[in-house]
């Protein structure tokens, strides 16, 4: 099996005699038997630590859960600085969680969470911060300060949680470089290994924002403002 990997010096081809393998297994074989300098991150091997996200044939994947195919072209994530080969610097991306204040502000004193409440943010709390959505998001081409899909999903996780009593301050925080900057293109949803749709979480946050009296700044002079960039109603 042959794959090409984007490295500092350009695309490098590797050939390994293996079938039915995950991309991570293959990269480990190359690293330990062919080329000690090939650099990538990995951890759990079971799709929960989010270390081995990368792009294969222009699509974000977790190397540990992707079955590698002959001819695959492997590259690092986009929208983040490459440190070396497939390793990227996630610091700025992760800092958007703090900028979005994606945490529970009020300490809950035994508020009752039902099975229905639990379902509201069960999937959102499955996020592994692999950054696939961040890499796939086209907004960063025009706005580097966009809070981005995973941070906004995290915000929705807390906004939708009945244990959070200060929903308003969460909504206030995500008005600038936040919910209205998303183009609702749905790329984030398409690449999420955990089946999370940040796009729909952002739509729900827009609806909450509208209820809190905010409106889409690009429709500042029109009624309501409850419409996304593509004109679809957002609620």
């Amino acid at each position: 099996m042959k794959i090409t990997v984007k490295r500092e010096e350009g695309f490098v081809e590797y050939e390994v005699d293996i079938v039915d393998s995950t991309l991570l297994q293959l990269l480990n074989i190359i690293k330990t038997t062919q080329d000690n300098t090939l650099t990538f991150s990995s951890g759990c091997r079971s799709s929960v630590c989010g270390s081995c996200s990368m792009r294969v044939n222009d699509r974000e994947v977790l190397a540990c859960s992707y079955k590698v195919q002959d001819g695959d072209r492997v590259e690092p994530l986009r929208n983040v600085p490459v440190i070396r080969d497939l390793v990227v610097d996630m610091d700025k991306a992760y800092a958007f969680n703090a900028k979005a204040k994606a945490w529970q502000k009020t300490i809950s004193e035994g508020s009752e969470v039902t099975q229905d409440d639990e379902k509201v943010n069960e999937v959102q709390s499955d996020c592994i911060l692999c950054g696939s959505c961040y890499s796939a998001c086209p907004v960063y081409a025009v706005n580097e300060e966009f809070l981005g899909p995973f941070a906004l999903t995290r915000t929705w996780k807390y906004v939708s949680d009945r244990r959070e009593e200060d929903e308003k301050s969460k909504i206030d925080t995500i008005q600038t470089n936040g919910v209205w900057d998303c183009t609702l293109c749905n790329e984030c949803t398409m690449v999420c290994p955990q089946g999370i749709s940040s796009k729909s979480d952002i739509e729900k946050l827009r609806s909450k924002s509208a209820m809190a009296g905010y409106s889409d700044p690009s429709f500042a002079n029109s009624f309501g403002g409850g419409f996304g960039f593509d004109g679809s109603p957002s609620f």
Partner: protein
């Protein structure tokens, strides 16, 4: 290069490290956390089964029963006071996690859902589907962000630094990204660096990062290690990839069967017993399978979604319709850095919590659901006591430089006459066979000799990558050397314990 000074330096950003950070900060200490990965990528995220607390939400339970079960599984090696503290604090620990936003699964009457894991007399493990560790870890990370705790990623612990009085007062760190070596000064250090299951290499469920760096560094700094021979083998890892299939699969009613389709053990006995039963069958030539087909698709999808996904990916089987091929592999290391009832190690200024520490709550065999509990209860204890120590020992002291040419990349470059990656894999297989589920004195001695031999050839191994920037070949070689030190300790501890006890099972005792 001397970096920022903090009152408490926490090394490791898994559950124990983050809980320690939150508590140290709350007591007024300035806190810095460093991790060789990122804060949400640690081993904690892999914990699936749950966190034990005798809440009695799903059936009658009591703190006393939790204590009794834990002590029984520990085979006399646990300290009753420590177990009592952990189990009594458990309901508060879960209540606290719930209060900061952990998305636990719920019962019909809006309580935190609980299920039965091996060795427990009641449904005691609070869970969040099979993502319990993931959801706890990420919520702790969010909480740390809200408290503005600084966490520096991709920094690797080389050595602990001491002052002229021999007290730990910082750490020597390799910045993986730049390749620079940095000294971080602090009044107290908390190690929360995880266990050493990766000495078994591919025969382990653990993340490739579980290389015992903190334990090895603590030992070099003079801290005592205890009960290092106790390694827990989890009964059900996927046969080919060693990926964990959670104990909850058996807790919910899964069977273990052999090639003939026969059940051969009590699936819910403690992990050491189940692993030995499986091992015995495998030695008879049987293939062993986990059978959860009878639980039904809806149930599997709801309660064990990861298990289904991973079985499909790695073994090409769908647990809804097929048997899951499994074998026991190294999963958790009970041994670790000796600590007292304030989480202080035997070296002043150095504290430890989580899997790297030995709080004597697991003894010879840990119960499922007690490790997530341990990181919350003892992470808190370590954080509070480190902050207290820092406040009481605020006088300025001189850092004593440690010499360590092994941290000089140039000196580690070599012709690689012997490939350490091959040796690493070889040691993993050797330990699985000779220092594994069932041990014999002669085989332990053989392993000990071999480790000695490998150590003597260390100068023939080295790093072939010369890059300063993100040299993972170098980091993996440093990890390998830490694992060698741990291996020596594990096998010599095993030889010293001339009895069968929990996970340390000796076959040829005469």
């Amino acid at each position: 290069m001397l970096r920022d000074k903090s009152d408490v330096l926490i090394i490791g950003a898994g559950g124990a490290g983050l809980v320690a950070a939150l508590n140290a900060k709350e007591s007024g200490a300035s806190v810095l956390v460093i991790t060789k990965e990122y804060p949400t990528r640690s081993q904690t995220c892999m914990a699936q089964g749950g966190i034990n607390a005798a809440l009695g939400n799903a059936g009658e339970d009591s703190v006393e029963a939790h204590i009794k079960n834990t002590l029984k599984s520990a085979h006399g090696l646990a300290k009753e006071e420590a177990v009592r503290l952990m189990c009594s604090e458990a309901p508060n620990a879960v209540k606290w996690l719930d209060s900061i936003g952990v998305c636990f699964s719920r019962t019909k009457d809006a309580k935190i859902a609980q299920r039965t894991l091996g060795g427990a007399s009641a449904p005691r493990a609070c869970y969040a589907q099979d993502y319990t560790g993931l959801k706890i870890l990420h919520t702790l990370y969010d909480k740390c962000m809200s408290e503005e705790i600084e966490i520096l990623s991709e920094k690797y612990l080389l050595e602990l630094l001491k002052d002229e009085n021999g007290c730990v007062c910082g750490a020597k760190i390799l910045d993986i990204r730049s390749g620079e070596i940095e000294n971080y000064k602090s009044r107290a250090v908390v190690l929360a660096t995880g266990g050493y299951s990766r000495i078994y290499d591919k025969n382990s469920t653990n993340s490739t990062a579980s290389t015992g760096d903190g334990i090895a560094a603590a030992s070099r700094a003079g801290a005592s290690l205890v009960d290092m021979e106790f390694v827990q083998f989890h009964p059900t890892a996927l046969k080919n990839s060693s990926i964990l299939i959670s104990e909850s699969a058996r807790g919910e009613g899964g069977y273990l069967i052999n090639s003939k389709g026969e059940r051969f053990t009590n699936e819910l006995a403690p992990r050491d017993e189940v692993s030995r039963a499986i091992n015995e069958e495998i030695l008879k030539g049987e293939d062993i399978f986990l059978d959860i087909r009878h639980l039904g698709e809806e149930f599997i999808e709801e309660g064990l979604p990861q298990e289904r996904k991973l079985s499909k990916l790695y073994e090409n089987v769908d647990p809804v319709h097929d048997l899951i091929p499994i074998r026991p592999v190294a999963h958790y290391t009970m041994g670790g850095i000796e600590v007292d009832d304030s989480s202080s190690t035997t070296v002043k200024g150095l504290f430890a919590a989580g899997e790297c520490a030995n709080h004597r709550v697991h003894g010879a065999n840990r119960l499922g659901g007690n490790s997530l509990l341990e990181i919350v209860v003892f992470g808190k204890q370590a954080g509070l006591n480190a902050a207290k120590y820092a406040a009481e020992n605020s006088s300025e002291s001189e850092l004593q430089e440690v010499s360590g040419s092994i941290y000089n990349l140039e000196e580690q470059q070599s012709e690689n006459e012997i490939d350490f990656y091959e040796v690493r894999e070889h040691i993993g297989d050797l330990f699985y066979k000779n220092v594994g589920i069932v041990r014999k004195k002669s085989e332990l001695q053989m392993a000990q000799e071999e480790i000695k031999e490998i150590k003597s050839k260390l100068h023939l191994m080295g790093v072939s990558d010369s890059s300063k920037v993100y040299n993972s070949n170098f980091v993996e070689f440093l990890e390998f050397q830490n694992m060698l030190e741990i291996c020596e300790n594990v096998v010599s501890s095993a030889l010293k314990r001339d009895e069968s006890c929990g996970a340390h099972y000796m076959e040829d005792l005469s």
